[in-house]
């Protein structure tokens, strides 16, 4: 009896996904059985896609059952490939052509005010992630994916990166904690990912390992893209090593704190006001500022409590964080708005920059605005306020 490869999900409330059951055979050719909600409109193209994939992997005899609830082609392809890889050894990858046109180059300094977590094995939640306009979309291979589904999720995330339009959001993937995460990184690297989140990061070496794997993977694929890193600090040891981690690689552009795991590691409860994590958060902010990267705050887990979220964002901004994670699209606007500078701040920043330029022009060493001295850090802060104001189309 041949082994059956099974990947994906079907039944019940599953949408935009499919379940593939594939059994290799000695003879009889390819027998496909398609049960699809969208069979009347896409039945033929689904059959053709499945045939193409089997041919690509050199499979000539097999029984394939596809239970489809409206999966897009890249999802079907990922599921079929995952099922195949359970029943045969192969390093080949079946890739649909990139369908996202003019993939821009990754940009280290872009805003990361909001970044939306999307479970890495749930196709229905990926499709519309970009329409809510987060700064980043994180396809999560770590906590959101059950241990026995990691393999299929990796392929799904790889395909999603190539074939879903996130409408300009930064394309992020949270890999698993290395060493498991190294495999994730290697697989997704050549497929348009812009930033990898490295969870439960405790020392610089972990980032460097990921960097090595990513470089190898990109080289192998002949890609010249850059991929940035955002380590997530989620333990007492990680906090102690924050500075080294921030400086571990030139590709580290931001560093986040994960408070659920951190408070567990500290043996304390996570509270609304967050006094228990005050040290850790300020330590991380400090390390990031010293390293010239963005400090990013933890997610706020009560998706129904928008007032609580707003307070949390205000506290984050006050501590110096430059972004926050979101676990629900509804949080994006509250978080983003939380980082919006006030009209007064923008006006003042404009005046500072004006005064600074004016002083420069006149060759003055000391700049004053009214009775106040303006020095370099003040100018730097004003510049940042104006960049933010520009993002918010305030100027």
């Amino acid at each position: 009896m041949e082994k059956t490869g099974i990947a994906g999900n079907s039944g019940g409330k599953v949408r935009s996904d499919c379940k593939v059951l594939l059994t290799l055979a000695e003879q009889g050719g390819i027998r496909t059985e398609l049960k699809s909600k969208v069979g009347a409109l896409y039945g033929e193209s689904i059959e053709n896609l499945v045939q193409d994939i089997l041919r690509f992997f050199g499979i000539r005899h097999a029984a394939v059952i596809v239970e489809d609830s409206g999966a897009l082609p890249h999802v079907i392809a990922a599921r079929v490939e995952a099922a195949i890889k359970q029943v045969m050894e192969t390093t080949k990858e079946f890739l649909l052509p990139f369908s996202v046109e003019d993939l821009p180059n990754a940009e280290s300094g872009r805003f990361r005010l909001s970044r939306l977590y999307i479970p890495g094995n749930t196709p229905s939640m990926m499709i519309n992630a970009g329409i809510h306009e987060p700064d980043g979309v994180i396809l999560d291979l770590e906590d959101a994916v059950a241990p026995d589904r990691k393999d299929e999720a990796r392929l799904l995330v790889r395909n999603a990166l190539r074939n879903i339009n996130f409408y300009g959001a930064e394309r992020m993937v949270r890999i698993n904690q290395p060493p498991l995460g190294l495999e994730d990184a290697a697989i997704v690297a050549p497929h348009g990912v812009e930033l990898l989140l490295i969870p439960k990061c405790e020392e610089a070496g972990q980032v460097q390992e990921v960097e090595k794997v990513v470089r190898a993977s990109l080289e192998k694929a002949g890609s010249v893209r850059e991929i940035f890193f955002m380590p997530i600090i989620e333990s007492a040891l990680g906090v102690e090593n924050a500075w080294q981690i921030a400086m571990s690689s030139k590709y580290v552009v931001a560093m986040a704190v994960g408070l659920e795991d951190l408070t567990a590691d500290l043996g304390v409860s996570r509270t609304e006001e967050g006094r228990e994590s005050f040290y850790a958060r300020t330590r991380i902010v400090n390390a990031c500022k010293a390293a010239g990267i963005q400090p990013i705050d933890s997610v706020y887990s009560d998706v129904a409590n928008m007032d609580g979220l707003l307070e949390n964002v205000n506290a984050s901004v006050a501590l110096g964080f430059e972004g926050m994670g979101c676990i629900h699209p509804g949080q994006i606007r509250v978080i983003t708005e939380g980082f919006r500078p006030s009209e007064e701040e923008v006006d003042k920043a404009k005046q500072i920059i004006e005064a600074f330029k004016e002083a420069r022009k006149r060759g003055l060493g000391v700049v004053a605005l009214g009775s106040k001295m303006i020095d370099a850090p003040v100018v730097k802060r004003a510049e940042r306020t104006l960049i933010l104001a520009n993002k918010f189309k305030m100027i």
């Binding site: 069979g39 009347a40 896409y42 499709i127 699209p329």
Partner: protein, 521 residues
């Protein structure tokens, strides 16, 4: 195989429709406002008080006796109404009785059917019911789509149903009106009793034009039943039953405002569009459905109205606690209610003189001296498909299955601005398409399509296009939306349909705008 529809005509929308439906010649759709009826309305028989009890007590023992007394026999047309929605017991009881009496070949003429009427499929199979003319939701629609019904279904809008009865296109032999409260004379309302549903507007035409009218209630009160939404002077027979329906399903509770972030985005874009277009201003009027997305649109309207200090003169359509709270907050001066969805709505209608019941006659009937639809500034409607000419479908899915009713949808298209907030695709099925599977509403009446990936304005609405210029809204052409849907989902194959016509869609004036073909297995 014998075809029920040998002669086909291409109507003004380019759709092939049968020349005869259930053996009766029909008029093909001629265009919006192009068909003018002639002649006089249907005249019911003159009745005389001499034939009715002088003390006004028209009660009989039970429903069977009522049906027998009304002369139930083979081939008759029996009408019922969907005031009890998915909690209705009455239609099933009527046909159980008909079956027991061995009656055959009935035409069921409901104002709409619901999944609870799946019970009637057995009677469609055994010939008790020949065919259904009315909107179909769920299992009955599926049954019809598969070509299993003997006759051809006729789908009419709420206004179209009134028109068909008034014009005599559908002669009702026996109208059975379920009434939450009634008196022995036949005065009835929907406001009180265990089966309270608010109003009985869908039964108005039947009470006026049917040959025999039976009022069935599970809350018989002494004369007078006040208010009388249905007048006893039109009623032949009254009867009391134990229970008309399941109160939990009649007032199924307000659909909650959607919590889906994608739908909220659709609703927000819709409200922002209305705001940018200058529609939300003092004294304006709106109609928004009772679905989760529509409710959310209402909530965004509320926020905008509060911020601007704007009041609406009236809101049309179904009512629920959200709309009632806008009335009570003073944001809406009047609710002109066609259908009440929850207990807050029922209570408000009973207590608040500004919460007024309407009927398809006042709101929608196209063969009247005008109606309310055109007075509404903006209406928010759903659709299963929209095409690049802004034509829309609301009854079939892209695979051809007939799963939804027309409701008041076609009638509402006459509002000043018609907006369809729809997802660009549903589970890979593109909603914006080259050509709608079934034409229910002509594109010339549809102004704006709002999707989560962009808003398309009908090019003929230059006023709207210039009003929202520079608003920052994501404006696209309808073709761009279609292309994007196909880029994401793939170009859909053309589903295979049988030639057999299983249903026709009437336009608001009684002409046939499209036909629905049997789905091919």
């Amino acid at each position: 195989m014998k075809s029920k529809h040998r002669e086909l005509i291409k109507n003004a929308a380019g759709r092939s429709v049968p020349a005869k439906v259930n053996g009766v010649p029909v008029i093909p759709y001629k265009g919006v406002g192009k068909y003018r009826p002639e002649g006089r309305k249907h005249g019911p028989r003159i009745a005389s008080a001499v034939d009715f009890p002088i003390d006004g007590d028209k009660r009989v023992e039970n429903l069977k006796e009522a049906l027998v007394k009304a002369g139930l026999k083979d081939g008759m047309t029996i009408s019922t109404h969907h005031h009890f929605r998915n909690g209705d017991y009455l239609a099933n009881m009527i046909f159980d009785i008909a079956k027991n009496m061995g009656i055959k070949g009935l035409r069921w003429f409901p104002s709409a059917s619901f999944p609870c009427h799946e019970h009637l499929i057995q009677y469609l199979e055994d010939g008790t019911i020949h065919h259904i003319e009315g909107s179909m939701n769920g299992p009955l629609g599926k049954f019809v789509s598969e070509g299993r019904m003997k006759g051809t279904a006729v789908l009419r809008s709420h206004g179209g149903r009134y028109q068909a009865v008034q014009d005599g296109e559908v002669g009702i032999d026996i109208a059975v009106i379920g009434a939450p409260t009634a008196d022995p004379f036949g005065n009835a309302n929907g406001l009180y009793g265990d089966s309270a549903c608010g109003l009985l507007g869908f039964a108005l035409a039947d009470s006026q034009y049917a040959d025999k009218v039976i009022v069935v209630t599970d809350n018989m009160v002494e004369f007078p039943c006040i208010p009388w939404q249905i007048q006893g002077n039109n009623v032949d027979i009254t009867v009391e039953v134990e229970k008309l329906g399941d109160p939990d399903e009649i007032i199924s509770g307000t659909t909650r405002i959607t919590r889906s972030p994608d739908r909220l985005l659709l609703a927000e874009l819709t409200a922002r569009f209305c705001d940018a277009a200058g529609i939300i201003k003092d004294g304006f009027s709106f109609q928004s459905g009772a679905g989760g997305t529509s409710l959310a649109v209402g909530e965004y309207f509320r926020q905008i109205m509060r911020k601007r200090g704007v009041k609406a003169r009236f809101a049309r359509g179904g009512s629920n606690k959200y709309l009632v709270s806008m009335l009570e907050e003073g944001l809406v001066e009047y609710i002109l209610d066609g259908q009440t969805f929850d207990l807050d709505g029922v209570k408000s209608m009973a207590d608040n003189p500004r919460h007024v019941w309407t009927s398809p006659f006042t709101s929608y009937n196209y063969h009247g001296k005008g109606n309310f639809a055109g007075m509404v500034d903006v209406v928010i409607l759903g659709a299963t498909e929209v095409d690049v000419d802004f034509n829309a479908n609301v009854v079939t899915h892209s695979d051809g299955y007939l799963l939804h009713g027309l409701g008041g949808w076609q009638n509402c298209l006459f509002s000043k601005t018609v907006i369809l907030p729809v997802p660009l695709f549903r589970d890979r099925i593109p909603v914006v398409r080259d050509r709608v599977t079934t034409l229910c509403g002509p594109g010339e009446l549809i102004d704006v399509v709002v999707t989560e990936r962009g808003i398309a304005i009908n090019p003929k609405r230059e006023d709207l296009i210039s009003a929202v210029k520079g608003s920052g809204l994501p404006l696209k052409t309808i073709d761009e939306l279609k292309d994007e849907a196909e880029r994401i989902c793939g170009t859909p194959e053309i589903p295979a349909f049988d030639d057999e016509i299983v249903a026709v869609i009437n336009w608001v004036d009684g002409t046939v705008i499209d036909a629905v073909r049997k789905v091919s297995k």
